[in-house]
Every structure is written in C-alpha cells, then in structure tokens.
Amino acid sequence: MLTNYLLLSAAIFTIGAYGVMARRNILIMLMSVELMLNGVNIALMAFARHHADPSGQIFVLMVMGVAAAEVAVGLAIIIALFRNKQSVDTGDFVELKG
C-alpha cells in the first residue's frame, strides 16, 4: 500500500520535472514547480501514515505554506519581468542587466 502511494508521488514529481525541463513559458514552469511540491507532499503524507507519526503531516502544512509564499513572490517577479522585457519566453531572459 505504501509503495502505491510512493509510485503516485514519483509519477507526479516526474510530470512536474518534465514540465520544468521541456517548456519555455515561465508561467508554465512555475506551475510545474508547484506540481513537484505536491508530489513531495503525497510522499510525506504516505510516510506519516506508515510510521504513525504526525510530524510528517505538520511538515506537509509547512511545505504548503512555503509553496503559497513562493508562488506569490514568483508571480510578482514574473510581472516585473514582463514589464521590463514584454515577453514570457525564457529564451529572452538572457542578460543579467535589467
């Protein structure tokens, strides 16, 4: 039973990793990072149930809070980037100079 949950977590994580690697739209890459975080959450919950330890569930809550904060800041960065470069293609963000 635990292996089924872990395989599901691995599948979701792999799909998220494919999304980050293969897409060039910065919004889609951010969504794929969120997918990876969700996959890790499933694995944490499965282990928390397996060892009957609530620490895993608390960790999941912390990860969700951090993911929400990260999405907020990431989207603000995307908005600022779009204002400067007028593009959401990561191929255009090649210079360090603003």
Partner: protein, 120 residues
Amino acid sequence: MHLMVYSGAIMVLFLFVIMLLNLRPEEYGKELGVGTKNCIALLSLAFFVLFGALIGGIAFSPAKDLPNSDFGSTAFIGKVMFGSYVLPFELLSLLIIVAIIGAVLLAKKAEKKESKPHAH
C-alpha cells in the same frame, strides 16, 4: 486545507497574473522542437523507472498501527502543531509576511518623480 490553499489562493493568483498579462497567442513564447521534447520525455521516463525500481526494491516494514483513533483529525494535528512544532509555525507566519511585502514591492509600478518646487 489543500483545496483551500491551492484552488483558493494559488490558482486565483495564477489566473490574476494570466489575465493581467493579457498575452496574445503569438506572444506565448517559442516552444522547443518535437525532437528535443521527445528526448526530455524519454529522460523523464527513465527517471521514473529508476524511482519505481528503488521504491519497489525496498522491503518496507508493515504499517504501524495508529496509536489513537483520531490520528489525522484536525484536533490532533492542532495539538501537535501548537505543542511541539510551534516554532516552525511562527516562523512560517513570519515568512508569509515577508513574502507579502516582497510581492507587493516587486509588482509596484515605478513612481514617476515630478520635480516640484520645494516650499521652504
């Protein structure tokens, strides 16, 4: 909890930004070619097969019995979170405040400074 955070907050933020940017289809960005995407898909599949072999190969001990009947309930998680894990909880609230301030600052429009005559 998961539903509230993800569909209520994160997806709403995403929709806000997508509608704010208002991209036309030709502005989406040039995607990678089909060959490159297939190579990356093959790589991800190999990654997943490696994960699966690792997961299937470990002999996990049988699942422990739950110590009490309200294991995953809100009351029990609240007791643990405000009991032993209150420090990460407070630090998480600090992190959220910092993220709010940072997000508002980053997304502000630059103020246009007009030179006004100083009145002494």
